[in-house]
C-alpha cells in the first residue's frame, strides 16, 4: 500500500483501485439513471457542457482504474475481458450503457405506461403514449382486410386446418414416412388450394386456373405409374389433353356451380386483405416458385445449349428487374397479352408475377446446390444406368436440396417481406390496410402505432423463420 501511481493501476493496490474505480463507475451510471428515470440532474451546478460529459468522464476513469490484468477476482476479470479491454472499448461500452439507460423510459412510457388500451373511440387516446385502442378497433381489418366480419371464421378454420394438416410430418409413423415427400409436394398443396378455392373464396375465383392445376396434379400422380420408356411422351401429351378434357368436356360450368359449397357467400378477392392475405400469397408463391425455380435451375445446367440460353435469359431477366415493375407489368401490361374474353383475377395475376420473380431467385439457389455436389455423385448415378430424370430425382436433387435449405429459407423470407408490395395492383395486405386506416378521418394521427404493430408482427414471423432455417442448417450440416 505504499506508493500509488494513479496512471498505472496494478495488482499491488488492487483494493484501492477497485473501490475507487467501482465508485466512479457507479456514480456515472447513477447520474445517467437518475437523469433519465426521474429527470434529476445531479451535476446541475456544473457548466452545461461539463455536466453533459461528466458521466462519461467519470465512468471512463472508473473503468480505467479497474482495468487490472489477472486481478484474481473472477467477475472482474470477466468484466474486463468483455467490455473493458482498452480505452476505446471502455468508451464505447459506456456509451452503449448510457444509450440503453436513456432509451428505456421513453420507450416504456410510450408502449405501456402512458398508452391507452381501453375504450373503443379516439377520445380515450389523450395521453402522450401509444393509442392501442386504435389497433384494437381496427384489428379485424388488419387481419382480414375487407372480408365480411360474419364470414371470417372461414379464414380461421382454413388456416387452423392447414396448419394441422401441415404438421402431419411430425406425427407420421415410420411406415408412412416415405410418402411424406409425395404428401407435401402434391397432396398438401392440393388440399390447401381446394380450401382456399371453395372455402375462403366460396366462388369461381380461380376459374381457368383451377383446370390447369387439377390437370397438372392429376397427370403428375398418374405419371408415377407410367413406365419410364413412355414417360417423356406421356408428359408431352397427357397434361394438355387432360386440361382440354377437363375444360371442354367434363367440368361444365354447372359442375363448378354444383361444386360450390351450399350456403357460403362468394367473397371476391378484392375484399381479401390483411395479414391473412400475406399468408395466402406467401403460401401460394412458395409452392409455385419452387417447381418453376427447380426447372430453370436444371435448365441452366442442361447440356442442350438452347434450353440453357432460355433458362439463363429467364433467370437474369427476373433477377434484374425490381418486383414493383413486375407487379406493374402484371397489372397494366399483362391483360393486354391475353385474349379479350379471358379474365384472370388480379390476385392470381399477382401470385403468378411474384412466383415467377421468386422462381428466378430459387433457381439460382438450387443451382448453387447442384454445383456444390461432387461430380462423383453424377458419375456414380450414371454408371448404375440411371437416365437423366432418374438420376436427378433419386440421387442429385435430394442431396442438392438438402444443401440449399438455408438459401431457400432466405428466399422465402424475402418473399414474405415482399408481399406488402401488392399494393401496386390494388390489393391491401396488412401494410396496405394500415395506410388505409391511417387516412380514416375518425382516426387521424395514429400512423406510428399502426406501423409499430405491423413491424412487431413481421419481425416475429421473419425472426422465427430465420431461426428455424438456422436450426435446419445446423441439423443438416452434420449429416454430410
Amino acid at each position: 500500500m505504499s506508493n500509488i501511481n494513479f496512471l498505472k493501476p496494478d495488482r499491488s493496490n488492487l483494493n484501492t483501485f477497485l473501490y475507487l474505480g467501482s465508485f466512479l463507475f457507479f456514480i456515472s451510471i447513477l447520474d445517467v439513471f437518475l437523469n433519465s428515470f426521474f429527470s434529476l440532474n445531479l451535476t446541475g451546478f456544473l457548466p452545461n457542457f461539463l455536466s453533459f460529459l461528466l458521466p462519461l468522464i467519470l465512468g471512463f476513469i472508473g473503468l480505467y482504474f479497474i482495468r487490472i490484468e489477472f486481478s484474481g477476482i473472477k467477475n472482474l476479470d470477466l468484466l474486463n475481458k468483455h467490455i473493458n479491454t482498452n480505452n476505446f472499448n471502455a468508451i464505447l461500452s459506456l456509451l452503449i450503457i448510457f444509450i440503453i439507460i436513456k432509451s428505456i423510459p421513453p420507450i416504456l412510457s410510450w408502449f405501456v405506461i402512458d398508452a391507452s388500451f381501453a375504450g373503443d373511440s379516439k377520445d380515450v387516446c389523450t395521453g402522450s403514449g401509444a393509442c392501442w385502442t386504435y389497433i384494437k378497433v381496427w384489428i379485424r381489418r388488419f387481419m382480414y382486410g375487407m372480408y365480411p366480419n360474419s364470414e371470417q371464421w372461414r379464414i380461421n378454420l382454413s388456416f387452423v386446418a392447414l396448419v394441422l394438416l401441415g404438421s402431419v410430418g411430425y406425427f407420421a409413423t415410420e411406415k408412412f414416412r416415405k410418402y411424406l415427400t409425395l404428401y407435401y409436394v402434391i397432396i398438401y398443396p392440393l388440399i390447401a388450394f381446394l380450401f382456399i378455392f371453395f372455402f375462403i373464396s366460396g366462388g369461381p375465383v380461380f376459374f381457368d386456373f383451377s383446370y390447369g392445376i387439377i390437370a397438372a396434379i392429376l397427370s403428375i400422380i398418374i405419371g408415377f405409374f407410367i413406365p419410364s420408356k413412355f414417360k417423356f411422351y406421356y408428359f408431352l401429351i397427357v397434361p394438355i389433353a387432360l386440361y382440354v378434357i377437363l375444360k371442354y368436356f367434363l367440368f361444365f360450368e354447372e359442375y363448378i356451380e354444383l361444386g360450390k359449397l351450399d350456403g357460403l357467400n362468394w367473397v371476391e378477392t378484392g375484399a381479401w386483405g390483411g395479414l391473412s392475405l400475406t399468408f395466402i400469397i406467401s403460401f401460394f408463391c412458395l409452392i409455385f416458385c419452387f417447381p418453376i425455380g427447380m426447372a430453370f435451375a436444371l435448365g441452366r445446367r442442361s447440356e442442350f445449349p438452347l434450353i440453357r440460353y432460355i433458362s439463363v435469359g429467364f433467370i437474369e431477366f427476373w433477377r434484374g428487374v425490381p418486383l414493383i415493375t413486375v407487379l406493374f407489368m402484371s397489372a397494366v401490361m399483362f391483360p393486354m397479352f391475353l385474349p379479350e374474353d379471358f379474365f384472370i383475377d388480379k390476385l392470381v395475376r399477382a401470385i403468378i408475377a411474384i412466383s415467377l420473380f421468386e422462381a428466378a431467385y430459387v433457381a439460382e439457389v438450387i443451382r448453387g446446390g447442384l454445383q456444390a455436389l461432387p461430380r462423383g455423385q453424377y458419375e456414380a448415378a450414371k454408371s448404375l444406368g440411371m437416365g437423366y430424370w432418374k438420376m436427378h430425382i433419386f440421387v442429385i436433387l435430394p442431396q442438392a436440396l438438402k444443401l440449399v435449405i438455408p438459401g431457400i429459407a432466405n428466399t422465402f423470407l424475402a418473399l414474405v417481406k415482399d408481399t406488402p408490395l401488392i399494393f401496386v395492383v390494388g390489393l391491401l395486405e396488412i401494410v396496405g390496410m394500415l395506410n388505409l386506416a391511417k387516412t380514416n378521418p375518425k382516426w387521424l394521427g395514429f400512423a406510428m402505432e399502426g406501423y409499430v404493430f405491423a413491424a412487431i408482427i413481421f419481425w416475429i414471423i421473419c425472426y422465427a423463420m430465420s431461426k428455424y432455417s438456422y436450426n435446419l442448417e445446423q441439423k443438416y450440416k452434420t449429416d454430410r
Binding site: K81, H82, I83, T85, N89, L92, S93, I96, I97, L236, F304, P305, L306, I307, I310, F317, R319, G320, V321, P322, L323, I324, T325, F328, M329, V332, M333, P335, M336, F337, L338, P339, E340, V416, K417, D418, T419, P420, L421, F423, V424, V431, L434, N435, K438, A447, M448, Y451, V452, A454, A455, F458, W459, C462, Y463, S466
Partner: protein
C-alpha cells in the same frame, strides 16, 4: 440417327413452346390494341409531357418532353441508389466489424441492429420513416438549427449551398492530386519490391490531397462561400427556408430506410468475409512481425474482400432495385414519374413498362459488370 434425334427434340420443343407463348401474347396484344384504338410506338417520348415533378436534378417542367421526364426519374433513382450505397457500405462495414468485436456490449448491440432491421419489410420501414417519424419533426418556423446551418423540418432538410468561384480549377487540382497519388503509389510499390525500402505513401497521399486543393485556393483564385438557408414568411402561418439546398423528406426517408436495411445485409457479408479468413493467416502474419494494422491491411483484408465482394454486389443490386419502392411515398423516381404519371397520361402500357424494365436491367447489369471487373482484379492470380 436416333441419338441425334434425342438431342434435338427437347430443344426443339422448348423453343417451339417459348415461341408459341410469345406469339400468343403478341397476337393478343395486337388485337387488343386494335380494338382499343391504341397504336404501338415510341414516338410519344418526344411529345410534351405537361406534368410537373417536384424534385429534379435537371431543369424540368411541363413543357419538356416525356423523354426528359424519363431522365428526371432515372437521375433521381440513381441519386437515391448512390447515396444509399455509400451510407449502407460505411454503416455495414462498421456494424460488420462491430459484430466481431471482443467487446460483449458492442457485439450484442450490432447483432441487435442487424436482427432488428433485417426482419422488417423494407416498405414498412419506408412508411414508418416517412409517415410516422419524419412527420413528428417541427414546422419550419419552430426548427432549431443544427450547428447553426442545418435545419431539419417537416418539409425536409435544409443545408447550406456551396457557391464556388473558379470551380473548375479546384476540380482539376483534385484530379491532379489523385493522379499523382496513383503514380507515387505505383512507384513506392516498385521501390519496395526492388530495394525493400518503404516510402510513407499514406502521409504523402494525405499531404497531396490537402495541399493541392489548398494551393488552388491560394494561387488559383478559387473561393468558396456558403449560402445559409434563411427562414422566410410567406403568409401568417406559412414559412419556408430560402437559399441553400433543400432535400425533400421523401428523399431522406428513402435513403435512411434503404441504407439502414441494406447495411444489415452488408454487415453480415463483411462478418462472413472476415471470419472466412483462416485464423492461421492472422497468426502467421503476426509471427513474421507485422503490426496489427499491417496484418489487417496486408493479410486479412485482401483475402476477406474476395469473400465479401460477390455477395455485397448482390446487395448493391438489391438496393438499386429496392429504390423503386420510392413510388410508395411519392418520391419522383423512375417508377413514379415514368411508369406512374407518364403511363397514366399516355396509356402506353407496353412501351413504358418495357422501357422501365429495360432501364433497371441495364442498371443491374452495369453494376454487376463493374463489380465483376473489380472482383476479377482482386481475385487470386494463379501462376
Amino acid at each position: 440417327m436416333n441419338f441425334k434425334l434425342k438431342d434435338i427434340v427437347p430443344q426443339l420443343i422448348t423453343v417451339i413452346a417459348v415461341v408459341l407463348v410469345f406469339g400468343f401474347f403478341t397476337y393478343n396484344a395486337q388485337i387488343n390494341m386494335e380494338n382499343r384504338g391504341i397504336d404501338f410506338g415510341y414516338g410519344f417520348l418526344s411529345q410534351e409531357s405537361s406534368f410537373d415533378v417536384q424534385f429534379s436534378l435537371i431543369e424540368y417542367d411541363g413543357s419538356h418532353s416525356y423523354f426528359r421526364a424519363y431522365l428526371v426519374g432515372l437521375l433521381n433513382t440513381i441519386l437515391v441508389s448512390v447515396i444509399g450505397i455509400i451510407i449502407a457500405t460505411i454503416l455495414g462495414v462498421i456494424v460488420g466489424i462491430a459484430r466481431l468485436s471482443p467487446n460483449y456490449l458492442i457485439n450484442k448491440f450490432a447483432a441487435f441492429y442487424v436482427e432488428f432491421f433485417r426482419n422488417i419489410p423494407l416498405l414498412l420501414q419506408i412508411f414508418f420513416w416517412y409517415f410516422a417519424a419524419l412527420r413528428a419533426l417541427p414546422l419550419p418556423q419552430d426548427a432549431e438549427a443544427m450547428f447553426g446551418v442545418f435545419f431539419l423540418t417537416i418539409k425536409g432538410l435544409y443545408v447550406p449551398a456551396f457557391i464556388w468561384q473558379n470551380f473548375d480549377i479546384f476540380f482539376y487540382s483534385i484530379i491532379a492530386a489523385i493522379i499523382s497519388i496513383i503514380i507515387i503509389r505505383a512507384h513506392a510499390k516498385k521501390v519496395q519490391e526492388n530495394q525493400g525500402k518503404q516510402i510513407p505513401v499514406f502521409l504523402i497521399s494525405i499531404g497531396l490531397i490537402f495541399i493541392l486543393p489548398l494551393l488552388s485556393f491560394l494561387i488559383g483564385g478559387v473561393s468558396l462561400s456558403f449560402e445559409v438557408p434563411v427562414l422566410k414568411q410567406l403568409a401568417t402561418t406559412s414559412f419556408i427556408y430560402e437559399g441553400g439546398v433543400s432535400l425533400p423528406p421523401e428523399l431522406i426517408a428513402l435513403t435512411l430506410s434503404l441504407s439502414l436495411y441494406t447495411a444489415t445485409f452488408i454487415a453480415e457479408c463483411v462478418r462472413a468475409g472476415i471470419q472466412g479468413v483462416g485464423k492461421g493467416q492472422k497468426e502467421a502474419a503476426a509471427s513474421i512481425g507485422l503490426t496489427p494494422n499491417q496484418v489487417l491491411k496486408l493479410v486479412i483484408m485482401p483475402q476477406a474482400l474476395r469473400i465479401i465482394i460477390p455477395p455485397t454486389t448482390n446487395q448493391y443490386l438489391n438496393l438499386t432495385k429496392n429504390s423503386s419502392l420510392a413510388a410508395a411515398i411519392a418520391y419522383p423516381d423512375l417508377v413514379l414519374v415514368f411508369a406512374g404519371t407518364a403511363l397514366m397520361q399516355t396509356g402506353k402500357a407496353i412501351e413504358i413498362v418495357s422501357i422501365t424494365m429495360f432501364t433497371y436491367l441495364t442498371l443491374s447489369i452495369s453494376i454487376s459488370i463493374l463489380m465483376n471487373w473489380y472482383n476479377k482484379k482482386i481475385a487470386i492470380q494463379e501462376k
